[in-house]
């Protein structure tokens, strides 16, 4: 019998809970707190493992076919997560100002690809203006020091 998405999700939670539970066994007891730092995590992880196992078993026993999921554009989601991850990785290296302008331009162009030079100009302007407004609002008016780039010092 094949597992549905519930079964796979249950297996993932079960595996993660058991691995973390095993790690708690290595925690040293504290002289001040008799039950130790591992007591509560073991309780929570044990509970999560039992619930996840129940989800897997119920899914395994389920006789009804799961309803088909609506068709969605997962490629776009993966691409946007990748672009955002690249932005997060780039932040400490190139700095907030450069990374943010490039990220806004890239994400905007991916969501609504420009069809001509005017479209590209709009993308560039939005990125520059939004990046500048966010930077000035936070650094100059709200005194939040945004990341500087290790490579660019900017």
């Amino acid at each position: 019998m094949k597992l549905s998405r519930d079964g796979w999700a249950g297996l993932a939670v079960l595996a993660a809970s058991l691995v973390l539970f095993a790690l708690t066994l290595g925690l040293k007891p504290s002289p001040l707190v008799p039950i130790g730092p591992g007591f509560y995590p073991r309780l929570v992880l044990g509970l999560a493992a039992v619930l996840a196992a129940a989800l897997v078993i119920l899914d395994f026993l389920k006789t009804k076919k799961p309803e088909p999921l609506p068709r969605v554009n997962y490629a776009a989601v993966v691409l946007h997560f990748a672009v955002f991850a690249a932005y997060v990785v780039a932040l400490p290296w190139v700095g907030f100002r450069i990374a943010t302008v490039v990220y806004i331009a890239a994400a905007n162009a991916l969501l609504e690809p420009p069809k001509n030079a005017r479209g590209w100009l709009r993308v560039a302007l939005l990125a520059l203006i939004a990046g500048a407004v966010v930077y000035f609002a936070f650094e100059h008016y709200l005194t939040v020091l945004l990341p500087r780039g290790r490579w660019t010092d900017f």
Partner: protein, 505 residues
Amino acid sequence: MYELLGEAVANIVQLKYLVPLFLGTLAGVIGGALPGVTITMTIIVVLPFTFGLDPLQGLAAMTGVYVGGSAGGLVTAVLLGIPGTPSAIATTFDGHPMAKKGEPGRALWLGIWASFFGGLLGAIFLIGATGPLASIALEFGPWEFFSLFVLALSMVAGLVEASLLKGLIAGALGLIVTVLGADPVMGQERLTLGIPFIKGGIDFLPVLIGVFAFAQVMGEIERPGSEVAKSLGYAKSLAVSHAKVVWEILSRPFQLLWVAFIGLLIGVLPAIGGSAASMMAYDQAKKFSRRPERFGSGIPEGIIASEASNNANVGGSLVTIMAFGIPGDAVTAVMLGALTIHGIQSGPLFISQHPKIAYGIFAAYLLAHPLMVLILAVGARWMLRIVSVPKAALFPIVLVLCVVGAYALNNTMGNVYVLLAFGVLGYLMVKFGFPLAPFILGVILGDQIEINLVRSIMTDANLWLFVTRPISGLLLAASVVSLVAAMWQHRRTQKKIDAAVEADF
């Protein structure tokens, strides 16, 4: 109490507080009106702007977002038939048909004034109930707090629409997040998985921002195409006799009080939210109506029920956070985070230790309502232009503000990495059908559950005390009852669905 409230109102009308309150309300109204942008997302975007402000300025802005957002959703719901927020879904049922029949002004203003009166009834409850409830909570020991938090989690897990088991697993996952990094009692390092930036534990705000912002933005990205660019194809004038509209609402006092009560009740229960409040209130208004068959055709009762209840709901949510430190929904969870940033602990001692801030929130909540009416009076028509902002331009900026919000918590990239990791997890949870509300509540309450459990065991190792102490025992019994009721409810719904499928077949 009234003296403190009077002082707080006099304080909040100073420009120093009035400006953030006004801007927050404006942001809330716009965010609420934008389909695909919830109040939660709006408050997440506003959060980093409050870091540089004093605590009351920041909380005034957030209260404004909450009140404005609860009303803003009705603009597009009435005029375009697209609810700006989930809490305005029920408003579309009668609001849009009334607008299409040539009375857009009446429909809109019925909604705005119903929001106003519902919100004020919520304010009366908020101001009157927070203090007494906090005094009751002051009598609690660690056993009672532990049981109260367990009750909150079990209720949320049971009340979500997904399966009970998945709700419980989501809550447990939230609790797991809090056991990573450091033990909250002794600060001993544990389960860091070799990741340096979680050594001190994981802040709940980047988790909350990541989970909600990405689940929503990616949920929109995966289904391209938007209905927002619709234009008004009917009467363009929103002019109306306000006295007549107000009378239409106030001439139904029983309905107004009943739907506001439903909104408050749903608000007090953790993590159910304004959408459930407005749907339940709409359903109740229909059941009590002498003309139930006309609901959905554009009658005032439907609009009043939905809008009065979702604004009263805000008052209820604020009560639980201010009296018990338990967020009623994601918006109050962000407010809780804002309090923590300023070193303020919410909970039963909050109102006695920080009366200026507590009464300041009451005053901000009261004043946000006339501001909301003013903003909508001036800008309802403009709002329709704003909601046509392309999402391709909006979403990258929203995510940049999420990064700023996470980074600015303590000026480290660690929180931005947490934001990304939980953004992915939040999206996957939604895709696999796990509800986010119990997960977030688990993340927020996890440390408190552990601290109170350890404290109670250190005070007395007898575990039976959790059951034999009357309030604690009652709260634990209520948790069991709520889980059993949820199981029964889920089973009943499933049977109905199965019967319907068989009938269709």
